[in-house]
């Protein structure tokens, strides 16, 4: 069971939240100018990292605000949560993909 620190409400149980997937994907400035492959890249392709993952969460059954979290997708440890628009925090010792893990 995760205890998630909503930047607006403080620590709350995971059942109040929904995960919105990878964060910091910028919408293309001029979508009409993109090729089909570039649009698919924006719309569908994801890093799906093993290890540190920056992702969006929604406090669906609380304040209903979106925010971001830096979470490990192997241990599920949440290193930080931060408001939309803020710079993603640097997490020491985490490089995205955890190699040689047992799972």
């Amino acid at each position: 069971m995760l205890l998630i620190n909503c930047p607006w409400c403080g620590p709350r149980d995971e059942i109040e939240f929904n995960c919105g997937g990878e964060a910091h994907i910028a919408r293309p400035a001029d979508p009409a100018a993109l090729s089909d492959a570039e649009w698919a890249e924006y719309l569908f392709m994801r890093k799906n990292l093993k290890g540190l993952h920056y992702e969006r969460w929604h406090h669906s059954y609380g304040c209903r605000q979106w925010f971001n979290a830096a979470r490990d997708t192997v241990t599920h440890e949440i290193h930080a949560t931060y408001k939309m628009g803020e710079t993603p925090p640097v997490v020491a010792g985490a490089d995205g993909i955890v190699k040689g893990s047992s799972s």
């Binding site: 997937g21 698919a40 569908f44 392709m45 994801r46 799906n48 192997v74 599920h76 040689g100 799972s103």
Partner: protein, 434 residues
């Protein structure tokens, strides 16, 4: 190194050298107190080079190896498995086989798989314990009724058995369902595929492994791939592993929950999210359920194993994970649902719980085929229902690798469909909440 083409059309199939299981061999070994059974497959040292490297020793990878040798006469093949064969999602699913899909592309693929399952024990000389006990999707609302009728008709147009069952007959077939007027989830009817059912998941992996091995395929366990090597032109030339480098002109990624991680080694991005999908089993009880029951609306599916345990699965965990363990809220939802559907099980104790990591595509359909990297093939993204597809997946993927072109059945499931807008949306037929 170039793959040798098969010697000639109509050439003799490769020989399979293995100790055949039969009533005669059982009797012979019984007389020797069962001390002379040979190993079902070898544990060889990896050779420095092969024609094909298959990354992933689950059901799909082993089936691919089996069909490469059997149908395409390619047996200079190695299957590399990080842990032990069948220890990933092959050993973690709820063993359901069915082909009740809506769209033509999926129906053709999963029906091929079910047909291969129906002859698999004979083909592999290994009992996969296929039990076509029927699979019932429950409808709890008018909307679901309409959808079930639509799906039943679509399946029948594709030549797949499918029946709509009314409320009274659902209760006759599944007598312990709560069919009372005050039931929490009103029962409106069911969609039945009689040829659906369950099979022994371990036996599917072991049977394919034993057959592939007998054809000459090397199965290397406890050997993790750490990198995919490419030459200056970008073409695949082999892999790095925890047991040294292995060369091959063709490398196939068949790794279920780690497809994105392996593809990233070759610089390929995929439209995949990896999530835990969990299951659990109860203590064994007397026979109470002789079909597989699935309620998509309340997120639970259940069958009774030969030992008497109720085997149950539920919705996906909500966040991405590679952790191979499920979260508690899903278990709570699942238990709440099963107790409301089958009030008789409310005092039942649960024995074991586990999770596998499933790769979900945006349209809940798999990705099978070639990639932008020459010599690299991907078979993944099977999401919540890979087990049922195991034989057809291997059958078609072996064709793709051997001929370097997609099999007609899996051609629609290429990676290009995401840029071409030809998604095969099976989110509903996947039968698990996404």
């Amino acid at each position: 190194m170039v793959l040798k083409p098969p010697p000639r059309l109509g050439g003799y199939p490769l020989k399979r050298t293995m100790q055949t299981y039969s009533i005669r061999s059982l009797a012979r070994n019984a007389r020797a107190f069962h001390e002379n059974w040979s190993e079902a497959w070898r544990s060889p040292e990896p050779k420095p080079a092969y024609d094909v490297i298959i990354i992933g020793g689950g059901g799909h990878g082993l089936a691919t190896a089996h069909y490469l040798a059997k149908n395409h006469r390619i047996n200079n093949v190695v299957v590399l498995e990080k842990g032990w064969i069948g220890g990933g999602n092959t050993g973690r699913n709820t063993t359901v086989v069915r082909s009740n899909y809506l769209w033509d592309e999926s129906a053709a693929l999963y029906e091929k798989s079910l047909q291969l399952y129906e002859g698999l024990s004979q083909e592999l000389n290994y009992n996969v314990m296929l039990s076509q006990r029927g699979l019932m999707l429950l409808c709890h609302s008018q909307h679901e009724l309409h959808d079930a009728h639509r799906r039943a008709h679509a399946m029948r147009l594709n030549g797949i058995d499918s029946e709509f069952i009314d409320r009274e007959n659902v209760l006759r077939m599944v007598p312990f369902l709560d069919g009372s007027p005050t039931a929490r989830y009103p029962l409106c009817g069911g969609l039945l595929q009689r040829r659906g059912g369950i099979a022994r998941h371990d036996a599917v992996a072991w049977g394919f492994a034993r057959s592939a091995d007998a054809f000459g395929v090397d199965i290397i366990q406890n050997c993790e791939v750490t990198g995919i090597r490419r030459d200056a032109t970008g073409k695949v030339v082999g892999v790095d592993t925890t047991r040294g480098a292995i060369d091959a002109p063709k490398v196939a990624i068949v790794v279920a929950g780690h497809t994105s991680v392996l593809a990233a080694m070759a610089g390929i991005r995929l439209p995949i999210h990896s999530h835990p999908l969990q299951a659990l089993v109860s203590e064994p009880i007397k026979p109470m359920l002789n079909v597989v029951v699935n309620s998509t609306q309340v997120h639970v599916y259940v069958s009774q194993s030969d030992k008497g345990e109720l085997v149950m699965g539920a919705a996906l965990d909500r966040f991405q994970s590679y952790g191979q363990r499920g979260s508690l809220p899903i278990i709570e939802d699942q238990m709440a649902a099963i107790v409301r559907l089958f009030p008789i099980v409310s005092r039942l104790k649960m024995l074991r719980q586990w999770a596998g990591i499933v790769d979900i595509c945006p349209d809940a359909s798999p990705i099978i085929g070639k990639t932008s990297v020459e010599g690299l093939y991907i078979n993944g993204g099977w999401g919540t229902g890979g087990f049922k597809a195991t034989p057809a997946s291997g059958f078609c993927f072996a064709h793709t690798i051997a001929k370097d072109q997609p099999h007609p059945l899996t051609a629609p499931f290429n990676l290009d469909r995401f840029s071409g807008g030809r998604l095969i949306d099976e989110t509903a037929a996947a039968a698990i909440a996404h």
